[in-house]
Symmetry: C2
Subunit: 341 residues, 2 copies
């Protein structure tokens, strides 16, 4: 790779100060026309480009937003980024995305890369390992510096910053209620470990809906999935039992789609023998047979709102108190729970 | 936001040079212990952090790889990023992703943000608009500077750099051959506009397979999808015709999944009346009914290889001549084309 030509090298070539080169390249009349032209010609020859880093060091503003997501192969997070992009671009900001891969260490590394001058603010959904270990020092250090930060989806209550979540409790509640309305008596919940905030909140909604109808909670119908183990085998244990549930509420799309496949393999009719509902803003649900009813997560809207909160904070147009936006969920009813007519 | 404390401000506060502050904070014994301690205490109080930008200006190496993809809500590109991440992390590099949203202007903007000091090299899949308009100046400017660059999937022949593609011609060929082997006589091709390189190459494979079997090409069986228009309505025109094709080869998963839904709505049996095959490394194909046969795109492997090529280029361990890696494709045969036994 050809060495990058720098102000310093040009200055040394001409035996002048860096400041003189810089002024010459900006066309300053403090520098004689002859010197300006010679320096400009030299810089053009070596394809000199003003170094953004140097510019940023002077004015700090990058017009770039950093985003850290736990996983990249995940339709929900893709749609959130799409929403962030859309709002940020309108406001003249660019977006850079890093992935934590659910790792605390990687999340901290991403913080280091992004927050030392590359971006004006950060939008983050917290890595699973960070949530599990409750190690939030990197977040605390940012907020102590008053660095603009927005948390979305997987948030941390004790961190003071702007936040966007969906109404996960409400989503779980609506889904369980819908299943009871279509006649379900024994609703299995397929969820994540409790330290994953969204799974835990959706479970709260499920429990609340059952209690409201006076149904005693049957703990044996609540299944906690370990994402590091085989998904199919874990979900088989929900359905391939002597007395399977008559409905399944799954806290994400991939759990629901697997449940649908397993139920069909067992010869169960959907929704007559077993109704199934998932959480998603994904594509799989539209193409299963029957298509899956789901609680819509509104990832795109969440992204737009996160970007709006962040940019208001960056541009000092936000209220002094931090905001917490809660996006309502709605059911997209398809044939996995309800047959029309 | 609290103003960031800088070396300059600390120097001005103490009436010493920036170099003195810098040495003091590094614990240099050139500076008296008393001054060191006072400067350190002041820096701690204001939560001073050495600015990465300043460090980068000195040594230029960022250990960050920039990636520009055309779309974020796209499973294939997500898997490529996952592969890039995996290889890059092993080698001590972090990854930053920007999205061009298929726009030339946005792609150029991403180039500007990423190539002025934020990253050591770039991995890019070209935006549709850039391909359509054949405007490659931003790429030429990079390669002129010998800036490390790898193109993947959607590449540009005239740009001299390392490249990774899948064997798109071979994939189209294998898919069409498989359809003929299971008895198809009239295979419709659902593809993109020809300026999208991958669509055009897959079409070449399809044409080659048919010609090899002595089949005359029926241009009326080749459908070009305009992604800015309604997908369902365009694909309906392939199937809801008096004499529908007995097989469909779609150049991506979403075209194939829509074709499957439409064929079922029309009462066609899959694969008996119509066999369907897509290109993918996506998830939808596993969950349709019947599940879709597809040409596997190996996005993860493509990402790993792109990262390897780039890091070898960055670290000057690559051969002088640019490499072009071609990843073979293989068929994942499922029930949309073939019923076992």
């Amino acid at each position: 790779m050809k060495p990058r030509i720098t102000l310093k090298k040009i200055a040394s070539e001409f035996g002048v100060s860096i400041s003189t080169v810089s002024k010459a390249l900006k066309g300053s009349h403090e520098i004689s026309e002859e010197v300006r032209e010679r320096i400009q010609a030299y810089a053009d020859y070596y394809n000199y480009k003003p170094n953004n880093l140097a510019l940023q060091l002077r004015n700090q503003k990058t017009s770039v937003i950093g985003v850290i997501i736990p996983e990249i192969v995940h339709h929900f997070f893709s749609t959130v980024i799409d929403g962030i992009e859309h709002y940020a671009n309108q406001k003249g900001y660019n977006v850079m995305v890093c992935v934590s891969n659910e790792s605390y260490e990687k999340e901290v590394l991403n913080f280091n890369v992004l927050t030392n001058g590359s971006v004006d603010g950060l939008i983050v959904s917290v890595a699973r390992e960070t949530q599990e270990n409750q190690k939030f020092d990197h977040f605390k250090s940012l907020t102590k510096d008053e660095f603009p930060l927005v948390l979305f989806d997987r948030i941390i209550d004790e961190i003071n910053c702007d936040k966007v979540v969906i109404d996960d409790v409400g989503g779980g509640y609506k889904a369980a209620n819908h299943l009871m309305e279509v006649g379900a008596k024994r609703i299995a919940l397929i969820t994540t470990e409790d330290y994953v905030t969204v799974g835990s909140l959706r479970k709260q909604g499920y429990l609340k809906a059952l209690k409201n109808k006076g149904i005693t909670i049957d703990e044996s119908l609540i299944y906690y999935i370990d994402d590091s183990k085989n998904l199919y085998q874990q979900i088989e244990k929900v359905i391939n039992v002597p007395n399977p549930p008559d409905a399944i509420l799954a806290v994400n799309e991939i759990y629901a789609a697997n449940a649908l496949i397993i139920a069909k393999e067992r010869g169960l009719s959907i929704p007559n023998d077993i109704a199934i509902i998932g959480f998603t803003s994904g594509l799989i649900s539209e193409f299963t047979s029957p298509p899956l009813t789901c609680v819509e997560q509104h990832g795109y809207l969440m992204g737009e709102q996160a970007a709006e909160l962040l940019i208001n904070r960056i541009e000092n147009t936000a209220p002094k108190d931090f905001q917490k936006e809660v996006i309502s969920t709605n059911l997209k009813i398809r044939k996995s729970t309800f047959i029309d007519g």
